[in-house]
Symmetry: C2
Subunit: 284 residues, 2 copies
């Protein structure tokens, strides 16, 4: 595995692979590599001749009062893990490689970016799509891998790829969980032992909503209420949102249908956690 820090050198390598007919799979990450990332890398390895993993904590997707400064960084450990997984290039740019002082152009994600996560995190998805577009241009992937846990991000990246006709296939991959059900996330590292013990409540609440749906409950509000009530029992936890939406509209449907999503965001202490369930699907 080679580590490339220069965006120009990364693009040169990617264009050379492309000219040689070699397909690149890209796994964009903010580092703090965990089993969720590892599953994306494994899939990318199976489906592409070359695999690039980017490790870049993207300042543009953090709000002014968010955890940019404290976001977990563990580059040497990440490097060792990615090398073990057989990654070809670890792309690890400094901030000024991606955003030089003259940087001005951004992606405007449109109205979907103002809902759910976007309502709580203004500007977040503009930052996400801007860096994803740039990573696509720099690494020229045939396929790019994103986790289902960040489902709105996945849907917005898909929307951008469709709208701009980027020649990239966006592959959504199932959420990887701890044995007790907590979705893998770099932010889990922030949790105290007590919070960590309480955190599986997110998955439990979603699972019970999924079971209620299977047993015939199709009113979105009823399922949302059930999730809120379950989460309300957890000390030190505040629900940001718990909302059912359709993947096609990002709006709450009249009645839940297979493929609809229930997404939640909570603050457990000062740590923001998100998770979701797709109704009528096995991927939980």
């Amino acid at each position: 595995m080679i580590v490339i820090e220069s965006a120009a050198a990364m693009q040169q390598q990617a264009l050379a692979w492309r000219a040689a007919g070699e397909e690149v799979g890209l796994v964009p990450t903010m580092g703090a590599i965990h089993a969720g990332h590892q599953s994306l890398v494994s899939r990318a390895k199976r489906e592409n001749q070359r695999v690039v993993v980017s490790v870049f904590v993207n300042p543009k997707q953090f709000g002014p009062h968010e955890d940019l400064a404290s976001y977990p960084r563990s580059f040497e450990r990440d490097r060792a893990r990615l090398e073990q997984l057989g990654v070809d290039v670890l792309f690890h740019p400094q901030v000024d490689q991606i955003y030089p002082p003259s940087f001005r152009t951004q992606v405007d994600p449109g109205p979907w970016a103002e809902r759910l996560e976007g309502r709580s995190r203004p500007g977040h998805f503009a930052g996400v799509l801007t860096v994803v577009l740039k990573l696509f241009e720099v690494t020229q992937p045939k396929r790019a891998y994103f986790g289902q846990k960040d489902i709105q991000q996945l849907l917005l990246v898909r929307q951008m790829v469709r709208d701009f006709m980027l020649p990239v296939r966006v592959v959504g991959c199932p959420t990887v969980r701890e044995p007790d059900g907590l979705a893998m996330s770099s932010r889990n590292a922030y949790l105290t032992a007590e919070q960590r013990a309480a955190a599986p409540a997110l998955h439990q609440a979603l699972t019970s909503a999924s079971e209620a749906y299977r047993s015939g409950v199709t009113h979105p509000e009823q399922l949302e209420r059930q999730v809120r009530e379950r989460l309300g029992q957890v000390p030190d936890l505040a629900v940001d949102y718990a909302q059912v939406f359709s993947e096609d509209t990002l709006e709450r449907p009249q009645q839940v249908r297979p493929g609809d999503v229930l997404a939640i965001a909570v603050k457990l202490g000062s740590t923001r956690l998100i998770d979701n369930v797709v109704f009528g699907a096995d991927r939980l």
Copy 2:
């Protein structure tokens, strides 16, 4: 020459050329092909194995009170001219090929888009950059050709290419003029005989500013005033702006230096015309 109307088919052709190592030159136009466009195509022919000309009147770059409906359309004549020039593909999509009903993602050009043309035409450059990015993705050009007449457009496209690291070389080409100096523009067709007779005043005003600069006048405001006074003598003409700016900042410099620009926009009757001069350069 083949005519392609489907964006997917165009992209497939472009990716096939790319895989075969053939370089594409793109000339994006809104049709009503004139000698200015023809000079871009000739240059593209010289520098690339394949030349694609797009003809697409982009609704997103027109404001609600602008001339989208009346913009000159002359597809059969354009097709014949482009065929004569040896173009490989004329890409001629309908609006729903570029903007299907689900279209939401746009390019946000940042603060440069709010100056000069952008001040008079809010949203114009977001529309321009969005369609240019999409045309780049669909036609996969190695080089793309833009006229110097639309200088702010040229600078904003260059900014986008730099910011997103698009693997495209943006080639700016000199303004082509009528024998009396009027810059070629599809909108010249709107002019009445009297307006057409008066229209060379734009170029004359710019030329005299350029001469004043050569003779030692370096105060931006003085040069702007001189241009405004000259244009003020033309009946039925209203100056929108006449402004000196530096290409690096789009701001008025303290003193004019070689490479700085004086750009003007006027309304001659109901027709909006723009032109510019680069100080200390031969391209006028």
